[in-house]
Symmetry: D3
Subunit: 190 residues, 6 copies
């Protein structure tokens, strides 16, 4: 008898990739890595989001840039979810990343989907809907050079981004399994 | 990288059990067999549904009985589904059972959720909602004695109910995996 | 007092039409045949899906073609449904088509949404979402010439595609009425 | 080709009935009048809701009574709807009743689900969920005697409750058909 | 302790604006007026909907024009709603507008989402979905010149459109608060 | 123009109350504290959940007890949510509590919905559905005496439970506002 109720596919891509915003489109993991179904994929590379790929209208209206010399990127896709659900997933992914760093003795401060370390920004994140799926991008600075605000990166903290990435993906996956199990064991109440 | 997007738990219970209708309650599989999550469970035994456990109001209003000397019973539970979705699941489960018999050269006629063989009734089925989950009962006659209408059973057809049960559960499980995959590979259209 | 809870509109189009994939767009039946609401429309004609109209990403990535000299095409539209629901509808439509052929003594083998006859492929099918509706295409070969795999058609089976089409549409319509009724007659369970 | 996408069943019950609150339970129309599916049923009779059948917690906490000597009662049941949807349906039913009286030259004032005539209360209404369906009760005073607040009834207005009831049910039915059609004719926007 | 469960943002724009259909796109209020969240915005100006911005396919197929010399326009946006919910919202907005005029002694006749005064058309309205939100446009003629059908406007009725607009927005806002409260105070029923 | 899209009502009850499990029923806050709508309520008192009020079937099957001499209790109610959504809310509430302690220099370890301090359990939590709403109980030990596992409490940590409670409720409220805003500012993607 199987033990897991739902399995998230995880992949760490070894080659360096520029995050330019196209990875937030639906089926990016299927089109490029033959991953069918809900997934979280991580890779390392610079961040320079093209104007036309920005999805946060507040950022667009303020003319902000989303840029860093080197980042660890997570791309999640969950099929058949609502916008509310993908935003909840995004919060939990950010919390997972924060808690993996806490285990290494690094104290972070979270404001919504943003992580801060000693007053400097560590991450960027967005969640949105495609016609078929919900998508999340979470970028954690490795080398924050080029960021438009005071920022910090994993390099300065002495964190190996690859081991960190694996642990975040594993914990996020367990988090979702746990949520599924929590839904299956409770009685309703009057 | 994992290959399955969603795994249905399957169990064949070896001991004989009376189906009296309480098995349609939520968490029956968790309370009795420690199965947490979506599941299909099969067992063999008589069918005699207590009046207060009947869930089909048309049957109740007509004063019908749901009874047979020996049946193969399938109990499905799917968490977090709507009534419509559990009724769709029920249709597919009935179709799976029908097709497993077809592979053995037995031609059946389906009307909604009822299967007929040479004009006699082979099965009973109901789908409903608990506060937490959707539930399905599908009973396939082995020995239809006591049924309130002309009926037929697997015994007369020379079908081994245990092997049959395993194959139905496996095919139903694959059907659901296939549905999940079909949802994850299509582009939206304008 | 009215008897039907929900009525699917059905139409058989007498003129021959090429299925090139644009029929999977939303409101095709409204724009061309003034059909407002949920519908199933059938017509006969060749199948040659334009690259840019293909919606199955696995097919696109493999460079597959969707082609046959003559097919019976069914186009379904259901408004306000989820991707999961339209995929369920698709399975039931395929099952309806299979069962109408079974009644004529033709044994088919179903794998997901594909029908096979003596090891050869009889059908193609896709289900997807538009911004406003769910859409299904089911194509049943009449003359499979040009198909990229070993295939079979209704012509070889001696089936009249028009009578067959009418019966499939009628049975699918009844199937949906039956599903609606199944949802309205059950008591909830604890 | 059928013209209606969804048909609400309507029934006027000629015998007088006490509304005591049990009619708000699911399947009341099926159990008593063999109506399967979404429905609106009307009847005339006194109103005296039993304490244990009251569903408005604000009323219960304030110790209010729901009572009138003679009322026209509407009981709606919609299967598979959310609480929000049944509350929307309730508003539209109240608006339909108001507009049928307006056509007869009677000006009413609506506050949420309550109708007032010259400062006196004409109606009571509640909407809630059963495990399987959404339910609405709308009671329009005919003779308001016994009501706990200043009230008015159709008798004083010179309105025939039976003709009025038929027209309300017909208009509510058209309203729902119109809503269904409005959903099927629009293009999505960027 | 806060008293409101959900607050709709309201804005009356003082400058005159042409309604050409682009205002029905998502985030129009955020992009132009920095309004984040559910909102209703009103403004005054001519109406001349560009062909490519029309969303009612029945209008498009009939070649109709949507035009008037001067209108009071309401633009609503509700995030995370279904097409059905936005159509319900549209009906209630139209009813709110009608009732505000009734309070000024003006009797209107409503057919679906259209308002009529002495047989002439007072309003146009459409509701649709963007990928992220539901949108409503309700246009009430001030000066109906140029309308393709016999029409009437607020000017002829002697109604001040600005005061009227404020009252409609306020009542619509209260209507939604009332619906939210109605959902939070009822007990479920068996 | 209003600034908040959705407001959660918060209340700290000054009198001590036993948490015996009945507070997880729907409308507890409305019935006892006249709070209509989504809410989070906190109070201090012992924890001793009656067998028949336990909702975690795994706990019930293992014969576990849920008990502590003194706890800070949070009771949340969210109307119109799914089981999945209330479980997501529960995770975020637990994370909020954890982060308020982190700000005071206390490092915790989270496993699903459980918080641990130096290997000892700090909290219990459950989320479930009533017919009308989703409900959460989060209990944070003040004095863990009587707990069935090694446990720790706020008293030992030197945390003032009242100030802590206020900050958790405030942060949870902001978290939900932030989630609502995140849903309203993003463009969809292809």
């Amino acid at each position: 008898m199987e033990e897991e109720t739902r399995v998230l596919k995880t992949l760490f891509i070894k080659e360096r990739l520029l995050y330019d915003g196209n990875q937030i489109h639906s089926h990016w993991a299927l089109r490029n890595y033959a991953i069918l179904g809900d997934s979280i994929v991580a890779f390392i590379g610079p961040c320079d989001v093209k104007r036309e790929e920005m999805v946060d209208l507040e950022d667009i209206l303020k003319g902000e840039v989303i840029r860093a010399k080197e980042m660890l990127h997570f791309i999640c896709e969950h099929f058949g979810v609502s916008l509310k659900e993908i935003v909840f997933n995004q919060r939990l992914l950010v919390v997972c990343a924060k808690e993996v760093l806490e285990k290494r003795g690094i104290s972070l401060f979270r404001v919504g989907n943003d992580l801060f370390y000693e007053g400097r920004k560590l991450s960027v994140s967005i969640a949105t809907l495609s016609p078929i799926s919900g998508k999340i991008h979470l970028g954690i600075n490795i080398d924050p050079e080029g960021a438009p605000v005071p920022a910090v990166g994993l390099m300065e903290m002495g964190i190996d981004p690859i081991i960190f990435a694996q642990e975040v993906m594993e914990n996020y996956s367990k988090e979702l399994v746990g949520i599924g199990e929590a839904m299956c064991k409770v009685k309703g109440v009057p």
